[in-house]
Amino acid sequence: MASRTTSTMQMILSVVIVCAVAAAGLALTYAVTKDRISAQDREAQLKALKLSYPGVDEFESVSSDALTLAQRAAGEVPVYGVYKAVENGQQVGWAVMVGPRGYGGPIRMVVGLDRDGKVVGVSIVSMNETPGLGSQIVERASFLKQFVGLDAATAEADIKKLDMITGATKSSRGARHGVEAAVAVYLELQKSGGTTE
């Protein structure tokens, strides 16, 4: 097909032209989908936040200083975001987005805590646990529910009494670490007077 003797110039030129056209095509697609993608991301995040804090529709991100503090308190578990749950202009609690390690990578989850440090909800945004085994931490409704009602003051001891799922040891433990990290974040923010600002 192609001529058998191609000069170096021809080779360079053909690759450059193909790359330029491809780049233009991609730039166009990016421009078209950019807004929709960020809207979808925001929506997914808001949905997870709402699930973790039933009854609240408004969430405000905390300052980056507070986030640094939160990350320090959570230790090894990454903290993706800390939000104030706002109802009628007043803060009623916190939503902490964390990513504890499960069996197949981080489990992105949000833990909602009210002002007194009681866990009000736990929701999982995304995870990559084994279907049928690790994924039971979402599919078994009773598993995440048992974290609800834990008190930050006594969570350290109480959380060890909760049931883990057989066959999903690492995933269950991941979810537990997530809640523990969120509680640690809450205690830290409470200490630094986060609720009163």
């Binding site: 097909m1 192609a2 053909s14 690759v15 991609l26 697609t29 995304s126 084994t130 279907p131 049928g132």
Partner: protein, 225 residues
């Protein structure tokens, strides 16, 4: 037209990329735990295959032999990125399930394989047939595998949020079906069924059985001894 039809149907049956050529299996086994995800994976592969086949066939006369692979890869990667961005924007739930397997279509053997083996040597029109046939062949097999794994493994079949089939609640599927070993076993049965079908197809059209694959020294004509 008959040539076009032959190329198209070869992709579905006699040269099915998954059950006969057996390429691109890694992603296939990974995403076939859910019918919905597998279906959209198939759509993505069809799009990438057809578009990259068209473009590669169109520029084949201007493509210097020495740099054809980089050019193929740039074309394929561009279409995969388009699919990637579009899925993220329009079907985020499915994108979340497929995850890394969408960008990995770039290195899926089926796409590069067809570019090199077919599109680079054939007209645009025939390359469309090849892309459609191969893509559809891929989609049918992966959807079949996923539907079976989802029904048997998790006792239900969901599509875009609707539950199409739901087994009684006392049914607890064997987990192995959802794990890799189960995927291999079921896939083996699908390969068997495909070959039985192909044998019948060949007998009907009067085509001879292909000689059993010669591997190792016997399959090569490099040296005459």
């Amino acid at each position: 037209m008959s040539e076009w039809r032959r190329v198209f149907f070869d992709g579905l049956s006699l040269e099915n990329p998954l059950t006969v050529l057996m390429i691109g299996l890694c992603a296939t086994l990974a995403v076939s735990t859910k019918f919905e995800g597998a279906f959209f994976m198939g759509i993505a592969v069809i799009f990438v295959l057809v578009m990259s086949n068209i473009l590669i066939a169109a520029v084949r006369k201007f493509t210097p032999d020495e740099v054809r692979i980089p050019i193929f890869i740039v074309i394929i990667a561009s279409f995969v990125t388009i699919v990637d961005l579009s899925m993220k924007a329009f079907v985020p739930a499915i994108y979340l399930f497929l995850g890394v397997w969408v960008p990995l279509i770039v290195v899926n053997c089926i796409v590069l394989g067809r570019a090199e083996a077919f599109a680079y040597h054939n007209s645009v029109w025939l390359s469309v047939a090849d892309g459609l046939g191969m893509g559809l062949g891929y989609t049918i097999i992966i959807a079949l595998l996923a539907a079976f794994r989802e029904i048997v493994g998790s006792g239900q079949l969901q599509f875009l949020g609707n539950t199409l089939i739901s087994l009684p609640s006392w049914y607890a599927g064997p987990n192995i079906v959802l794990l890799f070993p189960g995927a291999f076993i079921i896939f083996g049965f699908i390969i068997g069924a495909q070959h039985a079908l192909n044998r019948r197809l060949r007998a009907k059209s009067g085509k001879p059985e292909p000689a059993p694959a010669q591997t190792g020294c016997g399959g090569c004509t490099g040296c005459t001894k």
